[in-house]
């Protein structure tokens, strides 16, 4: 009889204990929103990944200071993928196990590809500040992917649209310097022109970087009666080509990318640079959110922010804002990201159907009176 009494007490105690712990555990789940931050935080690409951690911390701090998102505290779970796809896949599984709502990252395109499948299966969103591979959004395979940086082919797209719509040119010569950057840009531009159908690629060719003379290829451009040249490459060759074209009295328009949007180009090409168009990253120096973000970074970490910091800061702002509006479930966040414009450090952005941020990325500049002026 006595032993029954003891047993009953023990059972009651255990039940109470379980109930209490269960209750507190439930309480904590209720009040915390876990966000993964994944990218290269060590190794040779660490400098690309660490600024994103800082950005996420700053934004999380800002929200937590005001009571979190809808009363729930934001907790960051930072994981290092060293920019390697194998590691990224493991990390993705770990983050899923940790119960994150969304991931800010990854940093490298290859690692992002490797992780996205895992996230998709578990209904987790990923928003990257730096993965620029076009297929991440354009393939349509990853509806859970968003990014706050323009895709690799955005510059070529912008150059071609600008040439065909704004400048109204139809005969276009496309040149490149045979490097990965220049050739990629030129091939995209060629494909876009051909796909569009209005324009015609009259010359597509590579030039030798550092050659003493480009008059042969320029003679060919003149012969082809091109209205405009789209050049993928850097400023030393661009200034030579423009210089020699103007020397020959050719008025062919010259359009290039961020490799040429450099003040050295204006210095070396001299008067020939006048009127040259170049696409380049939008000027964010006057953006109040960006200025505030940089100031807070300096206050907390004592240095200027690193690469992709502003994009990551924008990603965190957009994501937290979407969770605030749409709740913590996948569809809610995704719809909020697509339907609401947020004021961020890369300007006011909203995501399109494929996950690219609208209003982010490049602008067209033109050399006017010896300086690059942004065209609106």
């Amino acid at each position: 009889m006595k032993s029954l009494y003891v047993k009953t007490i023990m059972v009651v105690l255990i039940v109470c204990l379980v109930a209490v712990t269960g209750f507190t555990a439930g309480q904590r789940d209720e009040a915390v929103i876990r966000i993964g931050v994944a990218g290269a935080h060590s190794g040779d690409l660490a400098s690309y990944g660490l600024p994103t951690v800082n950005a996420a911390e700053l934004v999380a701090e800002m929200y937590n200071a005001e009571g979190g998102i809808n009363g729930a505290r934001v907790q960051l779970i930072v994981e290092d993928d060293v920019c390697q796809p194998e590691v990224a896949a493991n990390i993705a599984a770990k983050l899923v196990g940790d119960g994150v709502v969304a991931v800010i990252g990854h940093i490298c395109s290859g690692a992002t590809f490797a992780a996205l499948g895992t996230y998709l299966d578990s209904d987790i969103l990923a928003i990257s500040p730096s993965a620029t591979a076009p297929d991440l959004t354009q393939s349509g395979e990853y509806p859970n992917f968003f990014r706050t940086i323009a895709s690799d082919d955005a510059q070529a797209r912008m150059q071609v649209d600008f040439a065909l719509d704004t400048l109204n040119v139809r005969r276009i010569a496309v040149l490149h310097d045979r490097g990965d950057y220049g050739r990629g840009l030129a091939e995209n531009a060629r494909d876009f022109i051909q796909a569009d159908g209005r324009g015609q690629v009259v010359v597509f060719d590579g030039v030798t970087p550092g050659a003493v003379d480009y008059s042969a290829i320029i003679a060919r451009i003149e012969q082809s009666n091109a209205d405009a040249v789209i050049y993928g490459g850097y400023h030393p060759e661009a200034s030579r080509i423009v210089g020699q074209m103007r020397d020959r009295g050719m008025q062919t328009l010259f359009i290039s990318g961020d490799g040429v949007k450099d003040d050295t180009f204006i210095q070396t090409a001299g008067p020939a640079s006048e009127g040259v168009y170049a696409t380049g990253p939008m000027d964010l120096s006057g953006n109040p959110v960006a200025m505030d973000a940089a100031r807070r970074h300096r206050e907390k970490y004592g240095e200027d922010p690193g690469p992709f910091f502003l994009e990551a800061y924008a990603a965190a702002l957009a994501l937290f804002n979407a969770i605030e509006i749409g709740g913590t479930d996948y569809d809610g966040i995704a719809n909020a990201l697509r339907n609401n414009t947020v004021d961020t450090s890369v300007g006011p952005i909203r995501f399109d159907r494929r996950g690219d941020a609208e209003g982010v990325g490049f602008a067209v500049y033109q050399v006017q009176n010896g300086v690059y002026v942004e065209l609106r």
């Binding site: 060719d205 030798t208 003379d213 042969a216 290829i217 003679a219 060919r220 012969q223 030393p236 070396t268």
Partner: protein
């Protein structure tokens, strides 16, 4: 036809540019059988000297033509001093060791001078002023040619003729030919071989500097790496024409220039280097000593 003429002139320009550099390569090789890889760097130093001088002189308010003349002369003297010193420091101590030692020494010198200029000046591209004034008589020609192209072409021709004259008809030229045939025998006959080699480097470096000033004034920009880029092509041109031969260097340069220019104009400029090296391989297969090179008679 106009297009053809345009490409012809473009090839001529390229050829003259390569020739101004190839002359120095071939001259040094002719005397001491050393491929002076630092020749391109001397050209680059000449261009930098001229740029610094031109900036100072244009502040002083001189006109373009006198700036060109003064800058060229000073750059030639300065570069000649570099060439002379380079030979004394890097090549003379290894002259009697294997040929490979001198070659490595030359490559080392080239890297040293490149990085020295990079550190002492800048790694950025600097704009080079157009020092060559516009000649109005060129507008009368049936094709478009800039005055820089014209000046480079004329200079190449004059330098080639002067060098040929120097080697064929002067006392020092005779000593050079003697030293190139057999150094020991020349020394026994009272030729100061050390002096001959020094003079060769002085002249070779001066032509490189002249090339540096004219070519940079045509291309409009310089940085520490231009010597390497131009040097490689000039070296190919010298080999193509028969290394050691002065007219050969010029002919080789023009063949190379036209190959590249017509290849780029009619087929694809993407394959420019492929055409250049394909013609080199072809010529070396059928004429191993180059277009105008002397066949090598090995002494037994």
């Amino acid at each position: 036809m106009n297009y053809f003429l345009g490409l012809f002139v473009s090839g001529l320009t390229r050829g003259s540019i390569y020739a101004l550099l190839a002359l120095g390569y071939t001259m040094v090789y002719g005397i001491i059988e050393l491929i002076n890889f630092a020749h391109g760097e001397i050209y680059m130093i000449g261009a930098f000297t001229a740029l610094i001088l031109a900036s100072v002189l244009s502040i002083a308010g001189l006109d373009a033509l006198s700036i060109l003349v003064i800058a060229s002369l000073v750059a030639m003297i300065y570069s000649a001093a570099y060439g002379y010193t380079m030979e004394k420091i890097a090549y003379k101590p290894v002259r009697h060791s294997q040929r490979l030692s001198a070659l490595i020494s030359a490559i080392g010198m080239s890297l040293f001078l490149q990085n020295y200029v990079r550190l002492a000046q800048t790694s950025n591209f600097l704009p080079f002023p157009a020092l060559i004034p516009r000649f109005t008589f060129l507008d009368l020609l049936p094709f478009r040619a800039s005055s820089a192209q014209f000046v480079i072409f004329v200079t190449t021709a004059v330098v080639m003729i002067l060098l040929t004259f120097l080697i064929k008809f002067t006392r020092i030229g005779k000593s050079m030919r003697a030293a190139s045939q057999d150094k020991t025998m020349a020394m026994l006959l009272g030729v100061n071989v050390n002096r001959v080699i020094s003079v060769t480097f002085l002249i070779g470096s001066a032509t490189a500097a002249l090339g540096g000033v004219l070519i940079s004034s045509f291309t409009g920009q310089i940085n520490f790496f231009i010597g390497f880029m131009a040097g490689i092509k000039a070296f190919v041109a010298a080999v193509l024409g028969g290394i050691g031969s002065i007219p050969g260097a010029v002919l080789g340069s023009f063949v190379l220039g036209w190959t590249e220019s017509f290849g780029a104009g009619y087929i694809s400029s993407d394959y420019e280097d492929v055409f250049a090296f394909a013609i080199l391989v072809l010529i070396l297969i059928f004429k191993p000593s180059g277009l105008l090179g002397r066949p090598e008679n090995k002494k037994v």
